[in-house]
Amino acid sequence: MSFKTELVTHIPFLRRFARALTSDQALADDLVQDCIERALRKHELYDPERPMRAWLYTILRNLHVSGRRSELRRGASIALDEIPSGADAVPPRQEDRLALGDIEEAVRRLPLVQREVLLLVVLDEMSYRDVAEITGVPIGTVMSRLSRARSFLRQAFDGDKEPRLRRVK
């Protein structure tokens, strides 16, 4: 399969990842487009021995992180861990438990570093090893971020109740 042909097969997955990452369709598709353009420009950097999907996700994820960084920058540079989630990074307290079933809102409230790990592992079913490579952290860090994200979701939804689901608009 040629580089381009294979690239095309990954676009739907890139779009799903970008959408879940940004919770904004226009922003997500801009990211995917930037990612595709960059991948084509830098295609000689791609190592065919490695899965292309992980490579593309690395590009998209880095574009997103640097985009969020420049958006948030106020003079000083911002450490990755300090980038807040979409709205605010305050975990829900007992009394402001999320409206039942709004998984998208719960994902949006996760800090970025936890959100990306959760999505890559759970939604994309990537191995911890691939996720470690994509996010540039050790596997132990992947696991602790994943565990925190999951416990956040568990808190956000009452464990006993079936979350009602909204479709992506």
Partner: protein, 256 residues
């Protein structure tokens, strides 16, 4: 939110994510049978996954927006011939990266192991690194003899990697001990007479871990376990300077 049962949340998550080997998964399954709380936690993980899939999978079926399509269609790719040199360089980098990832295991070092490794390499670096006349027991000009001796004492083939590419030349080595066990110590030096220490010890449990880096009092250390051996580096350098050296050591030793 932590449960009282025998299965911790991380292990349960790794099980749900298909990260465990057959034996480890069977162990979790056996524990699960008598642990209703863990069963509940597992079904919660499955419910989260189903909710995420249901929320975001519809994106997969959407038509690809025209700007993305034309980004692919309009692109002209460069010729491989023109970039062959760069590909070689990048290939080497990617291989190094893959090795780093390969070095990683689900388990981390215990605190006491980590502390003893770091302390050992730091103290050896401080004591011998400042020694002018007798920094090593056996100098690099008797390299073969040094390696044979240390390999024999550690019961594992030991080899000091060539780090000339990073500007460090082997000065020599010595036999040291850590908790009554023999360990190998190698000293390297660069053109500016800056020294770096490499400590190699046996790893009877054969556990693999990721690289861990720590800095204290101006000395950076990097340590990891890999199969039968554990390694620790120490030197007066930044994280950015030590990282590529650690990768080179890992790569070189992995091939011996």
């Amino acid at each position: 939110m932590t449960r009282q049962g025998k299965i911790d949340d991380w292990a349960l998550g790794a099980y749900a994510d298909g990260e465990l080997s057959g034996d480890a998964a069977a162990e979790i399954e056996a524990l699960l049978r008598d642990d209703p709380e863990a069963q509940l936690a597992l079904s919660e993980l499955k419910r989260q996954k189903a909710a995420l899939k249901q929320a975001f999978d519809p994106v997969l079926a959407e038509t690809i927006p025209p700007p993305i399509k034309s980004a692919v269609a309009g692109a002209r790719l460069g010729h491989w011939g023109q970039v062959a040199r760069r590909v070689l360089v990048i290939g080497a980098l990617a291989a190094a990266l893959a090795l780093v990832v390969h070095a990683v295991d689900l388990r981390e070092l215990t605190t006491s192991q980590a502390t003893s490794m770091v302390n050992a390499v730091r103290s050896a670096h401080v004591v011998y690194g400042s020694e002018i006349r007798h920094p090593v027991e056996v100098a690099a000009d008797q390299r073969d003899q040094l390696m044979t001796w240390l390999s024999k004492r550690l019961g594992q083939p030991i080899n000091a990697p060539d780090l000339m590419q990073h500007g460090y030349q082997l000065v020599g080595g010595r036999l040291l001990s850590l908790g009554e066990k023999p360990t190998a110590y190698f000293m390297y030096e660069n053109a500016r007479k800056q020294r770096m220490s490499l400590y190699i010890m046996t790893n009877p449990e054969h556990r693999d871990t990721a690289f861990r880096m720590e800095e204290a009092d101006g000395i950076m250390t990097c340590y990891w376990l890999d199969g039968p051996l554990g390694y620790a580096l120490a030197g007066e350098m930044t994280r950015g300077e030590m990282e590529p050296i650690a990768h080179a050591v890992y790569e070189a030793l992995d091939r011996t």
